[in-house]
Symmetry: C4
Subunit: 207 residues, 4 copies
Amino acid sequence: MPESNQTVRVEAFSDGVFGIAMTLLVIEIKVPPHELVAVQGLGHSLLALWPSYLAFLTSFATILVIWVHHHWVLAMITKNDHAFLYWNGLLLLFVTFVPFPTALLAEYLLHPEGRIAANLYTGTFLAISLAFDALWRHASARLLSADAKRDKRGEAAQITRQYRFGPPLYLGAFGVSFASEAWSVGLCLVLALFFALRGSASPAAVE
Amino acid sequence: MPESNQTVRVEAFSDGVFGIAMTLLVIEIKVPPHELVAVQGLGHSLLALWPSYLAFLTSFATILVIWVHHHWVLAMITKNDHAFLYWNGLLLLFVTFVPFPTALLAEYLLHPEGRIAANLYTGTFLAISLAFDALWRHASARLLSADAKRDKRGEAAQITRQYRFGPPLYLGAFGVSFASEAWSVGLCLVLALFFALRGSASPAAVE
Amino acid sequence: MPESNQTVRVEAFSDGVFGIAMTLLVIEIKVPPHELVAVQGLGHSLLALWPSYLAFLTSFATILVIWVHHHWVLAMITKNDHAFLYWNGLLLLFVTFVPFPTALLAEYLLHPEGRIAANLYTGTFLAISLAFDALWRHASARLLSADAKRDKRGEAAQITRQYRFGPPLYLGAFGVSFASEAWSVGLCLVLALFFALRGSASPAAVE
Amino acid sequence: MPESNQTVRVEAFSDGVFGIAMTLLVIEIKVPPHELVAVQGLGHSLLALWPSYLAFLTSFATILVIWVHHHWVLAMITKNDHAFLYWNGLLLLFVTFVPFPTALLAEYLLHPEGRIAANLYTGTFLAISLAFDALWRHASARLLSADAKRDKRGEAAQITRQYRFGPPLYLGAFGVSFASEAWSVGLCLVLALFFALRGSASPAAVE
C-alpha cells in the first residue's frame, strides 16, 4: 500500500466524522413549539433555550479543538497500522456519541436531576481526552516518520507535555459536574479555549 | 508539516461541514401531517409550506456562495496557521448554526412575532459575513503565497474591495428585518444571487 | 489557481453532498410506533412500510447513478469556471431536496391524494435530469481539456447522445405520475437501472 | 480517465457514506422525555436505554470494521470499472440502511416481538457481508494492479481466505436471532471484534 495513501484516507474519513458530528449538534436545538410561544412569546421562548446554545457551543468548540490537534498529529506521521486505525476508531466512537449527551444536557441542565446529564456530558469529554492520549502515545512511539523523528523531536516532546494535561483537566471537569452542572459545562468551554490558545502559543506546530 | 497537506485538509474538512449544513436544511421541511391533509388537502398543505421552501432556498444559496468564495480564498493561500484554523472554525460555527434559524423562520415567518425569527435569520448571515471578512483579512495579510503575492496583487485587491460590501449589505438586511420579515429574507436571496453574479463578472477569479 | 486543485475540490464537495443526501434518506424510514405494533404486530407493521422501502431504494439508486455520471463528467474536464460551479450548485440543490419528496411519497403513496406526492417526486427527478443536462452541455462546450478534446471526441459525443434521453424519459415518468403513482415510481427505479446498464455497456467510459 | 483519480474518488465518496452512516446512528438514541423521567428518575431512564447503547455500539463497530477492510481492498486496486462502482453502490446501500434496523432494534429488543427486529438487524449485516464478498471477488479477479498481482499474491489469497468466513458467520448470527435476540446482537459485536483482531494479526495488510 502506498504510504501517502494511508494517512490521506484516514484523515478524510476522520474529517468526515468530525464534520458530521459537529454539524449534527444543531439539529438538537429544537424550534420552540407554538403552544409554548403562545404562552411565553417567541423572544422569551428563544432566550429560554440558552442551555441548548451553551451545549451546542461547548460541544462544537471541543470537537473543533480535537480536530485541530488530530490534524497536527496526522501531519507528523506518514504511515499507520491496524492498531492506529482502531485507536482512531475508538476516538471517533466517542466523538460520534457527543450529540447525545449534548442533547441530554440541553434538555435537563435546569432539571433537579441535571447533575446526571452533566456527569455524562463531562464524562464523554474525559473519554475523548483518554482516547486521544492513547492515539498520540501509539503514534509517537511507533508511527513517526524518519523525518519527523529527526526534525521534530522537540515538537513531539512538546505535544506529549501538552497532552499530559488533557485527561487530568477533563477529570477535574467531571469532578466539578457532581457539585455544579453549569460550572462544569462552563469549565469545558474554558478548556476548549485554553487548548486553542496553547496551540496558538506554539507556532512550531503548524508552520 | 508539508505545506500542501495543510490547506488540503482544511479544505476537505470545511467542504464536509458546508456540504452537511446545506444537506441538513432539507430535514427541516416537514412532511405535512395526516390531520392537516384531511382538512386542507395535500396540494394546499404543500403550498402552505412556502416559507419552508423560501428559507431552504435562501439558506442553500447563501451557503453555496460562501462555499464558492471560501474555495477562491483557499486557492490563493498555500499555508495556514493556528489563527487561520480558528477564524475558519468561527465561520464554520455560524454556518453550522444556519439550519436552526432556517427552521425557526420556516415555522414562524407568518406568525405575529415573525420579526424575531427574521432578526435571528438575517443576524446569522450578518455574523457569517463578518467571520468571512475576518478570515479574508487574516489570510490576505499573512498567508498569501509568494506566487500569489506577485501574480495576484490585483486579484487580492479586488477580493478586498468586493468583501467590503458583504457586512454592510447584510447589516442592511438585518435592519430591514425589523420592518418586514418577508422582504428581509427576499433581500438575503437577492444578495446571494448578487454575489454569485459579481463573482462571475470577474473571470480572473477562477481561471 | 492550480488547475488540478479546482476539479478536485468541486468533486470532494459534490461527493459529500451526494453521500449525505443518500444517507439522510434512511432517517425518513420511521420506526413503527408501539401503539401501531400493539394492534398489527411488528411483522405486519414493517411490511406496511413498503412504500418507505420503495421510495428509499428508488431515490438511493437514482442519486447513485447521477453520482457515477457526475464522476464520469468531472473526469473529462480539468478546469472549471464560475458558471460550472453554479450549474453544479443547481444540480446539488435538487439532489439535496430529494429526501423531502421521498419522505412525502413514503407517507402518502397509498393516500387518495398520492398523485400529488408522485408528481413532486418524479418532478424532482425531472429537474435533476435537466440540471445535469445543462451541466454537461456547459462542460462539453467549454471545459474539456485539450487531451479530452483530442482523445475523447467519440466518448463526449456518446455521452451527449445518452444524456439526450434523460430529460424526455423523466418527463415520461412525470406524465405517468398523473395516471398511476406506483407505476411512475417503479418507472423511476427502472430508469436508474437502465442508465446503470447503459453505462456498463460503454466500457470506454471508465477504462 | 487518469487511473489515480478513479479510486481516489470512489474512496472519498465511500468514506463519506461510511462516516455519515456511523454518525447518524447517534440520533437514534432518543433523549428520555420529561414524563418518563418524572416517574423513573433520569438515572434509571438512561440505564433503561441500554438496548440503544448496545445497538449503537454494535452497528458502529461493524461499520468501522467494514470501512477498514474496504480501505484495505481499495489500496490493492488502482483502477475500477462500472461493475465495481455498482457492487460498491450495493454495499453502500446496505451500509446506509443500517440506522433503520439499529433504531428498530433499540426500540423493540425487549418487546415480545423483538425477534423480528433482531432478524432484520442480523439480516442486514448478512447482506453487507455478502455484498462485500462480491465486491472483493470482482476486485481480486479483475482489478488488481500489476504490482499488486506480482507482490501481493499471498496477501490477496489471505484476504480471500478470511472473507470466506464472513457470510457463514453472519448467517450464523442470523440463525441465532431466531432463538435469542440479545445473543444474536452480542454475537455481531463479537464478530466485529474478531474481524478487527484477525486484521491486526496480519501485519502485511497495511504495512
